[in-house]
Amino acid sequence: MRRFLIQLIIVLVCFLLQTALFRYLDLAGIVPNLLLIPTVSFGMMRGRKEGMLVGFFSGLLLDIFFDTIIGPYALLYMYLGYINGFFHRVYYMEDILLPMLMVGANDLVYSLIIYIVTYLLRNRLDIGFYSVHVILPEMIYTMIMTLILYKPLVKINQWLKRKEEGSEA
């Protein structure tokens, strides 16, 4: 329960940062996809189930707030979280390179899906332009933000783990 609440708060904080604070810290009009970071991190640190749940709530929040249809982003983030859960096996805590690369790869997949669903189907074909102006900058900025946010997330996870083991014993 405690874990669930803390994760909910993390998602909410990332959402607020992404939609409100980073409006002022954008680079060339691009805002990092912060919600992807907890989704990927928890997927890797804790496995498929938590990655999936964190992703689901991140996406749901986006849907409710910014979309006319509720569900697509929840679906997308959920599957990303779930897939990242498979990397739980090769993950170990001190390594920051793997999470960074994973966030980058995830953001790429995420952007491509959004491009295909919302742009390509409306006959906006110039993928070169969108890659250079939206997809790549977003990916790089998000990866840089991972450097900053990943360590605190690991710390929170460790703390939660200690608490849980404490209460079990």
């Binding site: 607020l16 996809n33 496995g47 689901f56 986006l62 509720i70 697509p72 959920m78």
Partner: protein
């Protein structure tokens, strides 16, 4: 795997269930839009104040960052501005006299002012769409202040967008530069109609796209584009921008062009929401 032994349900079943939930939600929101309104209402009411709070911090941080970079320019600019101010003050006095005269003449001719004076309310932009793909944003006034779905949003003298969703203390605005936006517009010079279509790609170069201009229309670059009277959603006579890059389309029937918007879309902080609705205006007529 600890999480497996502790919790009976394997992750893939949860995934399956949540997928069905998501698809269900998509279906519901496609079929009956109103069903999910209470949900939006609750999140809107709880999260908007938080965003407003973060915004204060954001503005502060942004200001501080700007201060570091700007401080060198400021003194030079200050000096320049002082000089300009004096020039403007003299000019202003002359303008005032002119304006008085203009008003008198207008009254004489019984003409309306060129910009119909719609009743407006000011609001602050508090958050922007989370992704980098669309241009929607949230403002901090809602139905409590009389804003409705379909209210036009302006900044300065230019059109910004339209309200697509309203809560008691927030409203969602879709900018005319959004990739989904399409505004019926008119040239001020010869009243020929056209469509202003939002396009991410052009906005990056600072333009909005204009399509379907009649090829015989007597328009030239630099002409002012305003919202037309035939639009269902937009009040007539609001400036959109100034036309440039006129080209004949390959079908030889229509022309396209770019519009330099009258509003600086990269830096919108406060907007004016027009309280009258176009639909009401149509009904009155």
């Amino acid at each position: 795997m600890r999480f497996n032994s502790k919790n009976g349900i394997p992750p893939r079943y949860i995934l399956l269930i949540l997928t069905i939930v998501c698809l269900g939600l998509i279906g519901i929101s496609l079929a009956f839009e109103e069903v999910l309104t209470p949900l939006r209402y609750v999140t809107g009411v709880t999260i908007t104040p938080m965003q407003r709070g973060i915004n204060v911090i954001g503005e502060w941080v942004g200001d501080k960052l700007d201060m570091i970079t700007d401080i060198q320019h400021l003194q030079a600019e200050n000096e320049e501005l002082r000089q300009q101010l004096e020039a403007y003050q003299t000019e202003d006095r002359m303008q005032m006299a002119d304006a008085d005269e203009l008003n008198d003449l207008r009254e004489l001719y019984d003409l309306d002012s060129r910009y119909p004076s719609y009743e407006k309310i000011a609001a602050n932009v508090i958050s922007k769409d989370a992704g980098n793909w669309f241009d929607t944003f949230i403002i901090d006034k809602g139905s409590n202040s009389g804003i409705q779905v379909g209210s036009n949003v302006m900044a300065g003298n230019g059109l910004v967008g339209i309200v697509t969703e309203v809560g008691p203390n927030y409203a969602k605005v879709r900018a005319i530069i959004d990739d989904n936006s399409n505004v019926s517009a008119m040239f001020l010079t010869d009243s020929s109609l056209c469509n202003v279509v939002g396009d991410e790609k052009h906005m990056d170069e600072g333009y909005i796209r204009v399509e379907n201009i009649d090829k015989d229309a007597l328009v030239s670059e630099g002409d002012e584009l305003i919202t037309s009277g035939i639009s269902e959603n937009f009040m007539p006579g609001i400036t959109i921008g100034y036309v440039t890059n006129l080209t004949l389309d390959s079908n030889n029937l229509t022309m396209s062009a770019d519009v330099i918007p009258a509003v600086d879309f990269k830096h919108i902080q406060t907007v004016l929401v027009v309280l009258e609705l176009k639909q009401d205006l149509d009904e009155e007529e």
